[in-house]
Structures are given as C-alpha cells and as structure tokens.
Amino acid sequence: MKYNPFSLENKTVFVTGASSGIGKAIAIECSKMGATLIITGRNEERLKETFNQLEGSNHLQVIADLQKEEQITLLIEQLPLLDGIVHSAGIVTTLPFQFITKEKLEEILSINFIKPTLITQQIIKKKKINSGASIVWISSISGTLCSFFGNSMYSSTKGAINGIVKGMSLDLANKNIRVNSINPGQIETNILSDGVITKEQLHEEVKKYPLKRFGKPEEVAYATIYLLSNASAWITGSHLLIDGGYTLL
C-alpha cells in the first residue's frame, strides 16, 4: 500500500539546529519520509553524526554559526529552492528575572528569534522558496501558555516566535507559504545539561505531566512532518501543542 498523505517526497527541507536534540530528530525523521535535507549546526562533528544518519541521498550539510552575518550570507547562497524551513536552533538560559542582563537577553533573543526571522526574510526575498512551502518554528509551551522558574528570557523568545507566526502567516498567505509553530513541553534533550537544574528537579518535573514522562525528540519530529507535508495544506498561523497534557493542569 503506497497511500501516504504525510510523504515528504520531492520536498527540500532546510533544518537549523540539526546537530542535536529536536533538530537532529527532525532531520532524520524527515529523511525517512523522503525529504531532501539541508542541515545546519555549529558543531562540525555532531552535525556530521546527524548527516550520516540521514536516509536517502542528495542531502547537504552546512556548518554555520547563525549569529555571524557573513556565515548567514554564505549559507543562504548555498541553499537550493526550498519547500520547507524548520527553525529548531535555540538555547535555554536559566536565570531568575532579577539577574537578567542586557547581554544575555540580547544573546538568547538573537539566537532563538531575531536571526531565524532574518534568515527566513532573506530566503523569501531571494526567492529561494517555492509556492506551497511550509515554515515550521519550534516554539514552546514556555512563554506562550505558561512559564517556568528562572525562564523569563527564554519565555520571551518563544512568545516572540508565536507572535511572528501569526504575522508571517498572514503576509505570506498570498505566496501560498504556510507558517506554523510547534509548542512542545519538556523534551528529553541535552538542552538543560548545564547543571543549573538538577536531575532530581527534573525527576520532580516529570510528575507534573499527566502522561507521566517528558516528550521524545521524535515526537516533535512527527508533528513537524505533518506541518511540512501536504496533509496540512490548509493549516497556517497555528500553534500545535505537544505537551503530554502538562498545560491541562
């Protein structure tokens, strides 16, 4: 049986933050659905690890620090015509509000929101994106439906993402480009591995999830596949919640 409304065959998808966590899972799962991938990340070794796990051929890996303008320019020059963009690059900085600084706020806002926004703008302006394309932002429940202690800066970046999804989707609708976000709860990745949050605290946090576990990176990837595929052709400006029931309570 060949019926598959979620197929990504003949689609070229650009994924940022592909060297680890959610971005890595998205790249691998999309390749299994037939997509051709262009993946980018900062860490050469880890990006290669992702690249080697991609199924199929004709994929491209570009090591780039998306905070550096000249590297963004080089990256965009190398991009082929895209059918999908997935913004998965992001950082977490855990700091109680009274300790936040201009530098740290600007850094996280730039990585999580401003640079991905400007990269998308350049891709569209340089007409490197097809009609019918889909843009997916990895947002969060934090900053859109709730927040967490010490997470105000991170929350602000994700709130900004949710906002621009609304505006972008409206402005790009006449090009038949769709823009949506996925808003996950806590996913099992290394993003909190700096040790500010202890394993015991994470263990307590798990108990707050009605489905009794954190999400898996693949589970965010499956939602991304849906939003990239033609199955979601009439969905734009939406925020897909994947949180194991966390925000129900």
Partner: protein
Amino acid sequence: MKQPQAIFNKNIFINILKKVKMEISDFIKNFASQFDDTDASMFKAQTRFREELEEWDSLKALSIIAMVDEEYSVIIKGDDIKNCHTIEDLFHIVKSRK
C-alpha cells in the same frame, strides 16, 4: 585638585582587595539578600539553609547560582548546592573555585 583623584584610587583599591579576599560575612550577606521573608538573624555560617529556611525552594537555588556568578564570577551547579548543608559549605566551594 589632586585630592579627589587620590580618594577615588583608594576606593578602587579597597574594592579590588574585597574581590580578591572573599569574606564569609559578605557571602552570607549576599546569600541572605536573595530572600524576602526570612529574618536576617537566620543567616549564619552554620545555617543549614535547605532544611532550616522555610523560604528555601528551587527558585532560591537558581538565585544563589546567579548571585555567585554575578558577585564572584564563579559557576556553580544545582548539584553543588544539593551537596552543601550549611552556608559555609557553599562559601568554601565558591572560594575554592575563585
């Protein structure tokens, strides 16, 4: 005209000295300033902060980590706090990493 300049330099010198020589009394003061509802008399070198202070919670732990980074330029982790019993224990960890 030169007098104010000299005083200015002296203050800078005292501040540098303070930074190099980490005092437990300053550390306790910095520790205490993360709390809002706990009486100042509760904060002593031997205070078992995780057990004795009702106000202690995970957000306080985050604040202490941030305070140590800001005041002493030392990175401590959640586990460091978990492994300490008293304020003095934490003081020694921070001091050893300066």
